[in-house]
Amino acid sequence: MSFEYGLYVPGRSIFHRIDPRAKVIWALMVLAFSIYNGNYVMNPIYGGIIYASVLIALISSKPTNFWYRLFGGLSATILFFSLIFWPASAPPGGEPLLTIPVLGWKYTDLALRLALSKAFLVLSPIIAIATIFITSKPGDLFQALVRWKFPYRLAYIPILALRFLPTVIVEIRIITDAQRSRALELEKGSIPSRIRKYVAVFVPLMIRMMKSALELGVALDSKGFGAMKTRTFSRELKWRIYDTLILIMFIALYVITLIVVTRFLAW
């Protein structure tokens, strides 16, 4: 697990090369089509197609193994909980597929449709948004927000949090190693005692982070951050025809598959 660039994973994939604004529009599209499918169409095949498209986007970006493990675990968990809990809210009727013997719970095809569609509604937007962060530099995302007329002082806050993530991880690693060298055994003892031992890591971490926050404030002030209403960038984002084509391709994929799946497939 290395986060030396924060969530960003350097690369030269298609998703790395397209404009961050196009990626944000794509993620919003995934969210909109997922909401439409999860609440109105409730077609697990269509939900699966959207899920597959975001997975392809993620895999083509070649992220680190950490992301595969994270989303693999997340997908399994969400599918499990969805299949367990959604049937309780399923509409009456439908073909019974499975009956639990002692409890007498009936698992109908409507319940399965609902559970799978809702699971994909949860998963697809999460992976799409994560793909944006994996393939975009925080500075480019910041610029995209500013271009969309977000006040730049406001847009700087989430980007700063992203920027601080690798710093915090490095700090935790250094402090943990330092405390281990002073015989702090973080892996031994009961869970409450282990949590208590982490106080020895959290206290120096908090103090160091507060110090760096103060230093950052001074650095921003000294550079005149917030003095001007508009902000310029040394490397400006450029919307190309390539970005438009990618977006059109995704819209076409989602609309055509929606029509095909709902009109020509029974499920």
Binding site: F85, A88, P192
Partner: protein, 97 residues
Amino acid sequence: MKDHSLRSSKSVFEFYLWGVLVGSIWCSLYISWWLDLAQGIVGLPPLFIWGWFAPFVMVNNAIVTAIVGPALAYVLYPPVKRWGLHWSDRITFIEKS
């Protein structure tokens, strides 16, 4: 909670009452309420939200805050206060005349 130093029994009691008990319950109810309200967008089942997620967040918050919170606050309060980073030193209330 008026005294955040955790150096008196009243301060510790108030921390456990508001920070651990009320804070954990409020946090879990607030998140679950939002998840339930935005169910069409988020897609989590109501039974999962109220039957699993809310108690999980409540217990998780209460345990961690109860164990780590007092120790952290006890150690961090003096430097934070000294640097002027405590919220009461950063915010000035406008008094009504």
